[in-house]
Amino acid sequence: MGLNGLIGPVPLSWYLMLSAILFTLGVAGFLLRKNLITVFMSIELMLNAVNLTFVAFSRHYKQVDGQIFTFFVMVVAAAEAAVGLAIILTVFKNRSTLLVDDVDSLRL
């Protein structure tokens, strides 16, 4: 692509690649981390990566629908964060731990 490619417009595939990298990092965080809150934040990172794909394709096809989908994903993420963090609070109240390895049974 050379120096000329660095000044011109951005190819769609670059956005998709960035999205793929962020999503992979989110999966890695989800699988590697042991803290419940960090695992939850990795999920948010994956949602953000998918949002980027939506907006990039919305731009590509000159349709506004992709942005609407991103908006709905944001709303659902906000609701999910509120309920998820409340669940984490309850787990910590009952078990006094945040490690996913220690929260492995459904029984209280």
Partner: protein, 165 residues
């Protein structure tokens, strides 16, 4: 100019995401996630999605991340005590598999995606268009969303309340 801006903020986003995965302390991870979201907001602006960029900063970086930081401080979550000890299987196969998955994604994106470039400022998807679509075509999902948020508020209050008896 577009490509330079994109590369700068993509690098910031990826660096912050790696920091999120690597750091031991949850509060550092949370601040890294704020960095990712800020960089992504700039990239949304490059894509011409003004409304989504603003909503990203206000809803994600503002509201959701404050909630995360609040819970981390409330629970006094410190560094992870037990060091994560991955199995030999994960150690040997994990990193090569991640690189293989990324390479495959790269291949399919390069060869399968429609060939187009994206220039700053030539897009019609402004806040006006988003608002019009939201309140005409997508009116019913929008209203259902408000019910969803009401349910989420009730659920959070019920789950996190103190037992009265």
């Amino acid at each position: 100019m577009d490509a330079i801006l994109f590369l700068i903020f993509a690098a910031i986003a990826v660096a912050c995401a790696i920091n999120l995965v690597v750091q031991k302390h949850p509060i550092t991870s949370a601040l890294s996630l704020v960095g990712v979201m800020g960089a992504l907001a700039v990239i949304y602006l490059l894509l011409g999605a003004e409304f989504i960029a603003a909503a990203q900063l206000i809803v994600y970086a503002g509201a959701i991340m404050v909630l995360f930081v609040f819970v981390i401080m409330l629970l006094n979550a410190g560094e992870e005590k037990k060091p994560a000890r991955p199995s030999w299987f994960a150690k040997i196969l994990g990193v090569p598999l991640v690189i293989a998955v990324l390479g495959l994604l790269n291949f399919f994106v390069q060869h399968g995606s429609p060939d187009s470039t994206i220039t700053f400022g030539e897009y019609t998807g402004t806040a006006k268009d988003v608002g019009r679509a939201l309140f005409t075509t997508y009116l019913l999902p929008f209203e259902i969303t408000s019910v969803l948020i009401l349910v989420a508020i009730l659920g959070a209050v019920v789950l996190a309340r103190k037992e009265m008896d």
